[in-house]
Symmetry: C2
Amino acid sequence: MTRKKITPHQDRLIALLEITRQLTAETELDKLLGLIVSRTTQLLDADRTTLYLLDQEAGELRSKIAEGSMTIRLPVGQGLAGYVAQTGQTINISDVQHDPRHASYFEQLTGYLVTTMLTTPMRDRAGNIIGVIQVLNKRVGAFTAEDEELLTALASSAAIALENARLHTQVQRMLDSLIATLAVMIDARDKEMAGHSQRLTDYAVAIARRLGLSPDRIELIRVAGLLHDVGKIGVPEAILTKTSELAPEEKLVIRDHARLTREILSKVHFSDNLREVPNVAAHHHERLDGSGYPDGLRGEEIPLESRILAVVDVFDALTSHRYYREPVSDQEALAELERDAGVLFDGEVIRVLKELIAEGEIQHD
Amino acid sequence: MTRKKITPHQDRLIALLEITRQLTAETELDKLLGLIVSRTTQLLDADRTTLYLLDQEAGELRSKIAEGSMTIRLPVGQGLAGYVAQTGQTINISDVQHDPRHASYFEQLTGYLVTTMLTTPMRDRAGNIIGVIQVLNKRVGAFTAEDEELLTALASSAAIALENARLHTQVQRMLDSLIATLAVMIDARDKEMAGHSQRLTDYAVAIARRLGLSPDRIELIRVAGLLHDVGKIGVPEAILTKTSELAPEEKLVIRDHARLTREILSKVHFSDNLREVPNVAAHHHERLDGSGYPDGLRGEEIPLESRILAVVDVFDALTSHRYYREPVSDQEALAELERDAGVLFDGEVIRVLKELIAEGEIQHD
């Protein structure tokens, strides 16, 4: 970092600092695990690293990433990693083959011979052991005291990064499952609509992918698709499930669900990439010629995301059973949409839908 | 870190590493901002640090934490911090008073005189400038080239920590608002129930706090309270809003909502601290003597969280308007609950409710 008097130790500290930054920048759990392993091997100038995570309930270590090896399960207390998980000590062994705590079982299976080994625990903020990092076979000589200190520091940074990534993953999963559950709840009010929001979303995402939209826009379509009908909560069941022809005022109440979708969703603090969800969801009943609702938008005034939802919403409606008619086949539904291509519906979206149906990628069952 | 040959520079690198770890361990935005400022001042041996965050849309820097100072707003391009935000350069000035880019305006306001100043941009993962760190008045002499390098490295770690904390805050806000919106949607099906879930939750959280429950348990009660009636989605509106006496089979359908709440919520992947939400929410109609539903639990078999929800659910029902009767006063509702204390409802919870009503902390309006 300074230009003068750079010692090898300083070099390694700077490398450790850079690694720490890389680890904390990675919020995806799987990638993070891989990064911890590869950077440890590199910093310690070793041949391999195995990362074990502790399964508290099972009292077991599981190797999440073992370079060049299978998954290892190790009860706490067994083997060198198990010993470290139990005692919380860092151990540095220069002659593994003669250490009584060594579990040679895996070597016999893999044929990979370990001579030197440095093993240290990872602890969370509260000080609990959450895993073990095990570095194998220093390239030259044995692991030094400096190696021990560097690995301890690295394990500490890795543990924080792991906790952050886990927290992030948990909250994200909670959010995703809550949205999916909400979609199921909305459809559940009307048995004819069961599964509608999820199917519409699957179709829409397939089309968005084929159109080459960015991951952020695909995610926007996914969330807007799942939530496009939340406004139906404001439509009385008596109207929602009516089997005879609807009166004009009842039709107005039904139409109002799109506006209500926007009103309800605008109360959710969507993250930046999802900021347009209320808007995209609200416009799933707009039509190119301006005959749709709630805003009577025309052509490209309608977001592409909403134009996709409009097509798949009708496709799913036609191919599903409804109170007033039997479902039609995918081909018949497509033909019906094609008659209105460019007038009511986006022609390009319909073309891609046709492609995906022909390939069997989209199929109503 | 090593025991031999520790140079002052190594000491500072080790300090920087420790600071980096502290920053990445802090996921709360406000605390993180404070931590960045205090640790920067310390590492750079300076008198003060100001942290500016860039408001992209306004084209403006805003001092989030300026030790010993008011909030400063600075258009990008103006002043030294504005210059750094515009150019992305780190600048190190040993004679601030004679630098033409310096905005002396603030000094005149605050009376704090700056002589030496080191200013560096913070960049996100994508390389965009998200803010500026400005360190003021090195305690001895001017800021060195080593100081510049340390601050650059610190700013880089700080930026990652900031991005992580923001991401976490955003997702958490989205989750919270989605849960609150869901609660409003559930109550909206029956106009007599408007606001019920939110009121019940407010009362329950107040009682939980007074009982001294841990933050995790209070959060569990909060989320379970907001979602306790999701199962009502399965009760037809015709039954939900019926003004005349319910038939026995209609009563069974209504009772089923508690079981349905559990069924629906068990599909949500709650994070570890909220794992009991489906259970706690489902048991809000259990009674101490086993006469409740869905499981007919008795006494302490009913989680304390659910016993709290049971009391405030009835309290809110009694003090709100219902189709079949007028609301009663808080005191009347309390008296009614007290008659069943220890038989149907938790006596301690009712005692705390009484206390909070007496203090005006809980009040139905």
